[in-house]
């Protein structure tokens, strides 16, 4: 049973991680045109770094499911896009405006991937829950 619970925990950790990824993709999309942020620069695209969460030592030496966690949310250091628009309040001396380094199609794809992975893990949780229920039915 503990193995099944560790499997559910692993899937739940993936739901967390994929939701974080979705949130970051959404904030990137929302700020695709934000030319100002707290530090004066345009918005920088953010990216979630996922890593495998090492499971706790298994009590009986059995296999424990490996979860996943958000290791870091990094800022993309790629150059900003530049657009010529002298009338813009954030234009530099040459009349160019620096715009966020967000690529909208890329964010959409990332979001689709996150949604797909979320769905897959939800399916996994459902199947494992059914298995636990069946195991409990043996005692009837």
């Amino acid at each position: 049973m503990s193995t099944l619970l560790s499997a559910i925990n692993a899937s739940a950790s993936a739901l967390d991680a994929q939701r974080a990824r979705m949130e970051v993709a959404v904030s990137n999309l929302a700020n695709a045109d934000s030319t100002r942020s707290a530090n004066g620069e345009p918005y920088r695209r953010r990216e979630v770094v996922l890593e495998t969460a090492a499971p706790d030592a298994a009590p009986g030496g059995g296999f424990q499911a490996h979860g996943v966690r958000v290791a870091a949310v990094l800022e993309d250091q790629a150059a900003f896009r530049r657009r010529y628009e002298p009338s813009h309040p954030d234009a530099d001396a040459e009349g160019y405006v620096s715009e966020p380094n967000v690529d909208v199609p890329e964010e959409m794809v990332d979001m689709l991937g996150a949604a797909r992975a979320y769905q897959a893990n939800l399916t996994a949780i459902g199947l494992i829950r059914d298995t636990i229920q069946k195991a409990l039915d043996l005692a009837k």
Binding site: A7, A10, T52, F63, G67, V68, A120, T131, L138
Partner: protein
């Protein structure tokens, strides 16, 4: 003539019934033992299905983790484990001991020959979902048979009531 024929039929029926009873009495013990080994095998099948589900859940959780390699239970070990009760009799407690230690140590290795993505991850969504469903189905099958076995045992304990 007719009456004698009937008597012989009745006599042969009784003989048959007695033979059946004797047969059951002589093999009754063996039936119980083989039941125990079947139940042990079903129990192992349940454990194996749970481990497979756990491995598939880990793979699915790390669907987008860069550098993660798909894990799978090693088939050869699983097969050895499945075959061992056929060679070990259930009478010796030592043999029970060896069987259970093999079961607890699930050998998990990286799956070979899977196409790899650019980030070094080689988890295939469909493969894992399939593995998960299949493990769930195997669990369900073993559970159904085990439940039927338990019902039989309960029936015997209650003297058929």
């Amino acid at each position: 003539m007719g009456g004698g024929g009937q008597r012989t039929t009745r006599f042969s029926e009784t003989l048959q019934r007695r033979a059946l009873l004797l047969h059951n009495a002589s093999t009754g013990m063996a039936d119980i033992v083989s039941d125990a080994s079947i139940m042990a095998a079903l129990g192992r099948e349940l454990t194996r299905a749970v481990q497979r589900q756990s491995v598939a859940a880990s793979n699915l959780a790390n669907l987008d983790t860069p550098g993660y390699r798909t894990k799978e239970l090693q088939f050869a070990d699983a097969l050895d484990e499945q075959l061992s009760p056929a060679t070990l009799t259930a009478h010796d407690p030592q043999h029970f001991g060896t069987a259970s230690t093999v079961r607890d140590r699930a050998e998990v290795a990286e799956a070979a020959n899977l196409p790899e993505r650019r980030d070094g991850n080689n988890v295939q969504l469909d493969r894992e979902l399939m593995g998960l469903s299949r493990a769930a189905a195997d669990f369900s099958a073993a559970e159904t048979i085990l439940a039927a076995k338990f019902r039989l045992v309960r029936y015997a304990i209650n003297e058929g009531r």
